[in-house]
């Protein structure tokens, strides 16, 4: 957003499309191997040694991402409400929550997400509705931004897939779906919905604040929550509610990443004790989370991870797909699969 200026909403759309391409790739590969997760078909397509190294990279990437995202969340919490609470505590509590939920089975994982969706969405919708009267149209135009510059614009757009990167969890859950062949439909709907919300939130935030003002803030949407006045003055500050829904949102995101890490490690090392893995992963993630010295360093790392980790990952399924078709690989016969487990 900082790069694209008033072109923010358009950059978001472009970013969403880029993310969608990655999603399509993942689902296509997943459908080719409907009984395998990304770790499984990595090995089949690339061969054991290379496949395992790639899997390890992916797991490491998400491990770092969980850590940094947790830190980001903790910074937001400390910066806005809990000024005196040590930041470690916010991190530890969030990680504990993730640890205790990630070793559950996949359907529990799905239900947790399902349960939190309304809790995340309702406050956001409420805030957006009340923010409408403060919208200034001139904050949104011109659509492409002043002095459009392709490089900066793409820089802005490429941050977006990162914001909704938890769709990547689809790579780990396809084998657990009732009907993996229908995964494309479900994935598109889910992604489309999440992307729409993101687009609306970004657009509204820019529409209310304008670009110059947003560039001075760390968390514009949170501040948007602080500016809203609910008619009849039932609540004088609704930012607390927004913050709670933000916590739910962070929790489900972290849960997805953590889930990828735990399941990935287990599958990679053929060690199916999720509980031990998820407990052992926690201290490592904690160390990652407290590694950045300050909030600016943290964002530097986060952007670096996005740039060098997430973006290649969006292309990765297509590489897999083309190698798979060159090698003529299809789904393995049932018997062989059982052996490889």
């Amino acid at each position: 957003m900082n790069y694209a200026g008033t072109g923010g909403p358009f950059a978001t759309i472009v970013g969403i499309l880029i993310g969608f391409i990655g999603l399509v790739g993942l689902v296509l590969v997943g459908k080719r191997f409907p009984t395998k997760t990304i770790i499984g078909y990595n090995e089949i397509i690339l061969g054991k040694p290379i496949g395992r190294i790639m899997s390890l990279f992916i797991i490491l990437l998400f491990l770092v991402l969980v850590g940094l995202e947790t830190r980001q969340y903790a910074e937001a919490i400390q910066g806005s409400i809990l000024n005196n609470t040590p930041i470690h505590l916010a991190i530890v509590v969030m990680l504990l929550l993730c640890v205790t939920t990630t070793y559950q089975n996949v359907s529990t994982f799905a239900y947790i997400h399902f349960f939190y969706v309304p809790l995340i969405l309702i406050p956001i919708v409420v805030i957006l509705v009340f923010a409408f009267r403060d919208v200034e149209m001139y904050h949104l135009a011109p659509f492409l931004g002043n002095e459009p510059n392709f490089k900066d614009f793409m820089k802005g757009a490429l941050v977006v897939p990162m914001a909704i990167a938890n769709f990547l969890v689809i790579a780990m859950v396809i084998p657990f779906m009732k009907n993996p062949m229908k995964s494309m439909k479900g994935a598109s709907w889910g992604y489309g919905f999440g992307a729409l919300i993101l687009l609306v939130v970004i657009t509204m935030t820019i529409a209310v604040f304008g670009v110059e003002e947003i560039m001075q803030m760390f968390w514009p949407t949170l501040i948007l929550g602080r500016m809203i006045q609910v008619p009849a003055e039932i609540l004088s500050r609704i930012d607390a509610i927004l913050l709670i829904s933000y916590i739910y949102g962070v929790f489900t995101t972290l849960l997805s990443y953590y889930f990828i890490v735990v399941r990935g490690i287990c599958e990679l090392f053929r060690f199916h004790n999720y509980r031990i893995v998820s407990i052992l992963a926690a201290p490592i993630i904690f160390l990652v989370a407290i590694f950045p010295e300050d909030i600016f360093t943290m964002y530097k790392y986060l952007l670096a991870v996005t740039k060098y980790g997430m973006l290649p990952l969006l292309l990765y399924p297509f590489i897999l797909l083309s190698i798979a078709s060159i090698r003529g690989l299809k789904r393995l016969p049932e018997s062989e699969e059982n052996n490889s487990l």
Binding site: G79, L89, E136, Y138, L144, G210, E212, M227
Partner: protein, 398 residues
């Protein structure tokens, strides 16, 4: 399992909360007034953040900060006392000096047993001198602090900002609450745009928009009069306009509800009619003509007649005559108002932002910055077409 639950219970129930501050341990700042400190004031500066004469940077932002704090449970609130005691005893007005807002707040904290809390801050008063010196340095602390609400008010006082906080209305327990209610309700009556802190900051940072702040005057030491608005060029206050011009300002921006009245008289007639606006609608058309920006305001105001003095002759034809006369009168006022704004290079209607939004190429090539825009704005062609329609005249037929 039982033991686990027990351990969990201990963790949850016996641990404390780091950010716990009981209400009684907090000193709620309800209002802050910022004045420029004189040499004399600075003489009593405590050495809390730095030693005397050791403040780094340019040493020209000396401020005198006055805070009105309420201490729940310590200063008695509620109806008591009798005998017209007023509200001055219910809150505590403290004064301190500093080189910046945070410096002054630190000095203030050093004098108090309770933790200062800005979450209930209702009103920030700055004196005209402070506003004219530039407001950026003052805003920074309030923007950074997560406790400050963006729905608080920032207002400019004619002379001493401190006087506003000292005004003690006899009807409300806490003076600052009364003052902020005065402003909030003025918004409801259509007398003031919703230009509270958050909005003010947005206007301040937008390219091609200049900000405004409500301006007040203390009356009889116990209340405030909303005395028009102060307008800015960049982050410096440059001039002010009167309350009736707030009406014009809001009409041009199409803000509802409407609430200002104008007296109108007809030629060859002694009667004076008070015409009150009830609804406003406005179209702002910005175009580039021959490489120059041009803006037309089309303002339509619905109004009613609330009073008729020294005359008794309302009918269809005279209503139309009054509409014309009122439109003409307001048009003239608006013209003068806009001329003044252009002269001061203050673009409070956001015409620059509209041009930037609609003609990005023009903006990128010819304007680019606020300073350049101010020059273009000064000589810009601005037309105003103000049209008043009288809809009703109250309970009297004639």
């Amino acid at each position: 399992m039982k033991r686990r639950l027990f351990v969990l219970g201990i963790i949850v129930f016996l641990s404390g909360c780091w950010d716990r501050y009981e209400l009684e341990e907090r000193a709620n700042i309800l209002g802050i007034a910022i004045d420029i400190a004189t040499e004399e004031d600075m003489g009593e500066e405590p050495e809390v953040t730095h030693q005397k004469g050791d403040f780094p940077g340019q040493d020209d932002n000396l401020i005198k900060l006055t805070a009105q704090i309420s201490l729940p449970g310590k200063i008695k609130l509620g109806p008591e006392g009798g005998g017209g005691e007023g509200s001055e005893k219910n809150s505590w007005v403290l004064e301190t000096v500093g080189h910046s807002v945070k410096d002054a707040i630190t000095n203030l904290q050093q004098q108090l047993a309770e933790k200062l809390y800005l979450g209930h801050l209702q009103i920030i008063v700055i004196s005209e001198d402070v506003a004219e010196n530039g407001i950026e340095e003052i805003n920074d602390y309030f923007r950074r602090n997560p406790e400050v609400r963006r729905t608080a008010w920032m207002i400019v006082n004619k002379n001493d900002a401190k006087k506003v906080l000292e005004a003690a209305p006899p009807v409300e327990n806490v003076p600052s609450l009364y003052l902020s209610d005065t402003l909030d309700n003025a918004v409801r009556f259509g007398k003031l745009p919703r230009e509270y802190l958050g909005m003010f900051w947005i206007d301040l940072s937008d390219p091609g928009v200049d900000a405004t702040l409500p301006r007040v005057q203390v009356i009889n030491n116990d209340r405030i009069l909303i005395d028009g608005m102060a307008y800015f060029k960049g982050n410096k206050m440059i001039n002010k306009f009167s309350p009736i011009e707030i009406g014009i300002y809001m009409a041009i921006k199409g803000m509802n509800p409407a609430g200002y009245s104008v007296p109108v008289s007809l030629p060859n007639d002694e009667g004076v009619y008070m015409v009150k606006a009830v609804g406003r609608d406005s179209k702002i058309k910005s175009i580039i003509e021959n490489g120059k920006p041009k803006t037309t305001f089309e303002v339509n105001v619905d109004a009613m007649i609330e009073e008729e003095i020294e005359s008794n002759q309302l009918d269809l034809s005279s209503i139309q005559a009054i509409e014309d006369a009122a439109s003409k009168r307001v048009n003239e006022m608006a013209d003068r108002f806009i001329k003044q704004l252009q002269e001061d290079q203050s673009d409070i209607f956001g015409l620059g932002a509209r041009i930037r939004a609609k003609y990005p190429n023009y903006w990128d090539e010819q304007v680019q910055s606020d300073e350049k825009w101010a020059d273009i704005y000064q000589d810009m062609n601005i037309q105003i077409d103000y049209n008043i329609s009288i809809r009703r005249t109250g309970m009297e037929w004639k």
